[in-house]
């Protein structure tokens, strides 16, 4: 663990090797993530699944230290299972987000985790919660995270609308991640999306070769 000297810098430079995004629409949410786990410059896993289920209708996008976010996800999964058994019903997205925030906030000195929690419940419909470093909990209509998010902030500002349909939201997520992957070396591989509505959960997988080519890149040739 680095020795942080607070007098030297206002904020440490932290790179979260990922692009993650969640967008709410009327009736649900779409979560998206790239699939690259890097260890320094080495791509440790090129097909990683960064969208983790916390409950049947609540999922978590993980960015930051892989081990930290896996530990947080495990704890929250366990507590939600206990909670749902007592409640005899599905967990609310806000409850799940609060549990993750408590872990993030109370262990803030030891964790490097940027989380996005999104899902559907009867109380709030589709909801998206952002939990950046430090453990702030913010309910938002959509949010982006990870190192790749810096490159698409302007793009998302321009093209996001608050009246997306499910297909439009999903297309927005895929295009945003395509652009993030195009410029962030720490993001890459494939795009995974998870769509959560009252009807259930739909997982989708778009291999990197099927993503649109961006400026300066060539489309992948068909395998011969």
């Amino acid at each position: 663990m680095a020795d942080y000297d607070v007098t030297q810098s206002y904020m440490q430079d932290i790179s979260l090797g990922t692009s993650i995004i969640a967008v709410s629409f009327k009736g649900g949410v779409v979560l998206g993530a790239d699939s690259r786990t890097s260890s320094g410059s080495y791509v440790a896993n090129r097909v990683q699944d960064k969208i983790t289920p916390l409950a049947d209708t609540v999922y978590l996008c993980r960015s930051g230290s892989a081990s930290d976010t896996q530990a947080i996800a495990s704890y929250v999964q366990y507590w939600i299972a206990e909670h749902q058994a007592e409640k005899n019903g599905p967990v609310d997205v806000s409850t799940a987000a609060n549990l993750a925030m408590q872990l993030s906030y109370n262990n803030k000195n030891m964790l490097q985790a940027g989380l996005i929690i999104a899902g559907w419940d009867k109380q709030g419909g589709g909801s998206v919660y952002a939990i950046p470093l430090g453990g702030t909990l913010l309910k938002v209509p959509y949010t982006i995270g990870g190192s790749g998010s810096a490159y698409i902030t302007g793009w998302c500002d321009k093209y996001w609308r608050d009246d997306f349909t499910e297909e439009e939201a999903r297309a927005f997520v895929v295009k945003a991640l395509t652009h993030a992957i195009a410029r962030d070396a720490s993001s890459g591989g494939c795009v995974r999306t998870v769509t959560i509505t009252q009807a259930g959960v739909k997982r989708d997988f778009i291999p990197g070769t099927k993503l649109a080519a961006t400026f300066g890149e060539l489309p992948t040739p068909a395998s011969s």
């Binding site: 663990m1 020795d3 942080y4 607070v6 206002y10 904020m11 440490q12 530990a71 206990e82 007592e86 549990l99 925030m101 408590q102 872990l103 993030s104 906030y105 109370n106 262990n107 803030k108 000195n109 030891m110 952002a130 950046p132 470093l133 430090g134 453990g135 702030t136 909990l137 913010l138 938002v140 810096a150 902030t153």
Partner: protein, 297 residues
């Protein structure tokens, strides 16, 4: 009732999830949750991995802020107090979250606003919510006044500072003292009961007719010293506040033109929806600064 695991095996080292933590505890607790100093009843301990190793003095406590809010401004006026700030949550130099509410109502008499780390502010709100809930449950018509909230927060902030684990906020507490039991609000003049105070992250605190945090301390307080008066009208106070907010927006890079204005009067608390201010960039000297000195910068 299964025994609650109290510590990890030290042999495993700090912060390691040992076999004890893997044992499921009963959902039924041995007793009601015990409040510990500066931690909410909702039991921060259970979310702190290995609280006994956290108690280890060798552990590094000092944090630094991640998602931060900038200046908060407060002034007294004839009918009460005004508090204003923008709605930006900055992430270093990135203007990351643009709809953050940094002014919160504590009860009908007190509001609190914060600059600095947002997660610590959310923690402070939780502590105050518990105090307010206790008031409600006492059901005796008595609620916390701004002076009490201010004193409480002074102690919380100073205590955390002594543990080298500060809550990274500068807080503004504003409000009107609730009338004493049996008295009515009309019995006391507003100027006697209006309160405005600032508490910093190391416990430094003061109260005055105008208080600010962050950049506004340098930019806005001189304006307030000139023009603020305890008996100024609401229109004059709002105009002065807008003037100060404009200056803070021009000269603070981590700010945005989207503000909330909160008001506490004897009638109660109101926090406005976010709004933007008209700002001026079209002075001739701005559009052509080197017209008379070509080649200069």
């Amino acid at each position: 009732m299964l025994p609650r695991p109290t510590s990890h095996s030290k042999a495993l080292g700090p912060g390691v999830a040992g076999p004890e933590l893997a044992v499921a505890t009963s959902a039924v607790q041995a007793g009601p949750p015990k409040a510990s100093a500066q931690q909410p009843l909702s039991g921060a301990d259970s979310f702190m991995v290995d609280p006994h190793c956290i108690a280890d003095p060798a552990r590094q406590h000092t944090q630094y802020p991640y998602v931060t809010g900038t200046s908060v401004l407060g002034i007294k006026y004839k009918d009460g107090v005004l508090v204003a700030c923008d709605t930006l949550g900055a992430y270093g130099s990135t203007k990351r979250y643009k709809s953050v509410e940094r002014i919160k109502k504590v009860n009908d008499h007190v509001i609190i606003a914060a600059s600095g780390e947002l997660s610590d502010f959310q923690h402070i709100i939780k502590l105050l919510d518990e105090l307010t809930t206790d008031d409600f449950r006492a059901d005796d018509g008595i609620s916390l006044g701004p002076q009490e909230v201010y004193a409480y927060l002074c102690r919380v902030m100073y205590n955390r500072r002594n543990k080298m684990d500060p809550l990274w906020n500068s807080l503004i507490v504003a409000g009107i003292e609730p009338p004493h039991a049996g008295a009515s609000a009309e019995d006391v003049s507003t100027s006697d009961v209006t309160f405005l105070g600032m508490v910093g992250m190391i416990g430094t605190h003061y109260s005055d007719s105008h208080v600010t945090t962050g950049f506004a301390s340098h930019l806005a307080r001189p304006l307030f010293r000139e023009a603020q008066a305890d008996d100024m009208s609401e229109e004059a106070a709002v105009a002065l506040m807008h003037e100060a907010l404009r200056v803070c927006y021009y000269r603070d890079k981590q700010s945005m033109n989207k503000f909330q204005l909160a008001k506490v009067t004897k009638e109660g608390v109101s926090i406005s929806e976010p709004y933007a201010l008209d700002v001026q960039w079209d002075f001739k000297m701005f559009s052509q600064p080197t017209k008379w000195a070509v080649g200069a910068w």
